[in-house]
Subunit: 306 residues, 2 copies
């Protein structure tokens, strides 16, 4: 038993919030969990599968008396939700969000939070290509990183408690400054997603290669892209709209490099291609050593090789 | 026991050839398997781990008396190998290759094959990010596609036997015309690999985000790219040099689409982004229905969720 908060309110009941609920139950991290989702269908599903101790019909009701309020809605909806719940927040409570972009969230949510309430933006770097209240599972955050992005002047005790909470859900925590967070995530997450979406879109458009062929032969590399490109459209639309500066900067760098490789292909510069491809292997080794993946051969296969 | 050929010679002993050997042993597909690799270290490793019944010190010795000769070297080396072994091929024997590009292989290998020998280009669409004689395993081809690309005027009985051979190794077979093969593979495999290499290269170059950060937080999407970008550099250099036309054409389409999405981000066109991201989800569903992947959540995780 390692209870960190008495009452926790989950606003939004998608993949992240539902996984947080099951992880809280697994570890006895919260005394009581209330939940709210804007869609009635989602609330009905939550009640049916036992997601949350109480599912409320308004965000206001869910946050009443809560010691921790979790904003788990798309980044573009955070401001509106914060404005709606602000008058009902308990003095001394803490509000966290789980958005993938932090600059926009701090700007949109921050001004609505009362002075008596702590606001600590967080970003669990875990997910799957599934979404909705039934997609969550207790182990989602195990050994994954959650970035803690406290605004200037944040109360150190409140920040430490948020960190203890995420650790109790299984995550490793690291603190990061707002602007740096948005740049790092553009590199490791936002641009890879945009590129995957683009590649899948190109394949879909190509009339000379049939959809059936693309699907049949996807194991040759394309399959990993489709998995990334199957992620929640609303969430990703908001990510790109709200992390515009870092995204556009990284896209510029990406196309610059791509054009250099394209030129090497066109001119038949095998040495440049070989050197480039050799260099990228080292990063992969670093990831395996860092324990963020296994080196079991999985690429292009549905099941892992035993 | 379903022996398809008496003696099989494997030229090149990397991931594909070593997997073919173990799959042949599993199914009793060949009476006897000889092997050759250019590198002495590779031959020593093969002898140590029992890869091939006989490891020969020359390609000529390996192919002598063989009913099936498998060219399993990088695409750029196929022509040289074919020229070297041609005088030693048994009349009535069949030569196949396992290269990822077919136009260049047909052009380079074809002219060296004696009239008394059959030549049937094939392309097993299976692999991992590992390479070398110790990376093979018997189940690599199970339920994966092998494309059979017979040149004009190929002997139907020889082609059928090659097909039966691949099926005995566990693969599903589909016949395809040379030029179409190279276009399909550019879409489902070659361009995805080039993009993954580029993205990993960009991350590596970025001084404001440390390597350590890129590696630590890779589970957010970047990790799948690093797996693809860890594939064998020599193999991929040759793919891009020999499938230049289709690669450059598809790269043009890709950057066109990417620029359209970039513009939507810059102008804040959320509707276009949402519609695009929604459309790409459908392809993913098609792949799951086609049985080329499972829908267990794996994205961003080292182990599958049970």
């Amino acid at each position: 038993m390692s209870q960190v908060y008495g009452k926790v309110a989950l606003i939004g009941l998608g993949l992240i919030a539902s996984s947080m609920f099951w992880a809280m139950k697994r570890g006895g991290v919260a005394g009581e969990v209330s939940g709210y989702a804007r869609s009635e269908a989602t609330r009905d599903t939550a009640r049916r599968i036992g997601l949350c101790d109480t599912v409320c019909d308004s965000a206001e009701a869910a946050v009443t008396g809560a010691d921790l309020v979790v904003l788990a809605v798309p980044v573009g909806a955070m401001g509106t939700v914060a404005a709606a719940i602000a008058p009902y927040l308990k003095p001394g409570a803490t509000v966290i969000d789980v958005g993938s972009v932090k600059g926009a969230v701090v700007a949109e949510v921050g001004p609505h939070i009362p002075e008596t309430v702590h606001f600590v933006p967080t970003h669990p770097m875990a997910g799957t290509e599934h979404s909705g209240p039934e997609s969550g599972f207790a182990t989602l955050f195990d050994n994954r990183w959650t970035l803690i992005v406290p605004p200037e002047g944040a109360d150190p005790a409140a920040v430490e408690r948020v960190e203890a909470y995420w650790q109790a859900l299984g995550a490793n925590c690291e603190r990061m400054e707002v602007e740096h967070h948005d740049l790092v995530c553009a590199v490791v997450s936002h641009i890879p997603h945009l590129i995957a979406y683009t590649m899948v879109g190109v394949a879909d458009d190509l009339s000379r290669v049939s959809d059936q062929e693309v699907i049949k032969f996807s194991a040759a590399g394309f399959r990993d892209f489709t998995r990334i490109a199957a992620s929640d459209p609303t969430m990703w639309r908001d990510v790109f709209l709200t992390n515009k500066a870092a995204t556009l900067e990284m896209l510029g760098r990406f196309t610059e490099e791509l054009f250099a490789l394209q030129r090497a292909i066109r001119t038949g510069d095998g040495e440049e291609l070989f050197d480039y491809f050799t260099r990228t292997r080292a990063i992969r080794r670093g990831i395996i050593q860092a324990g963020q993946d296994t080196d079991a051969p999985d690429f292009g296969r549905g099941k892992r090789h035993e």
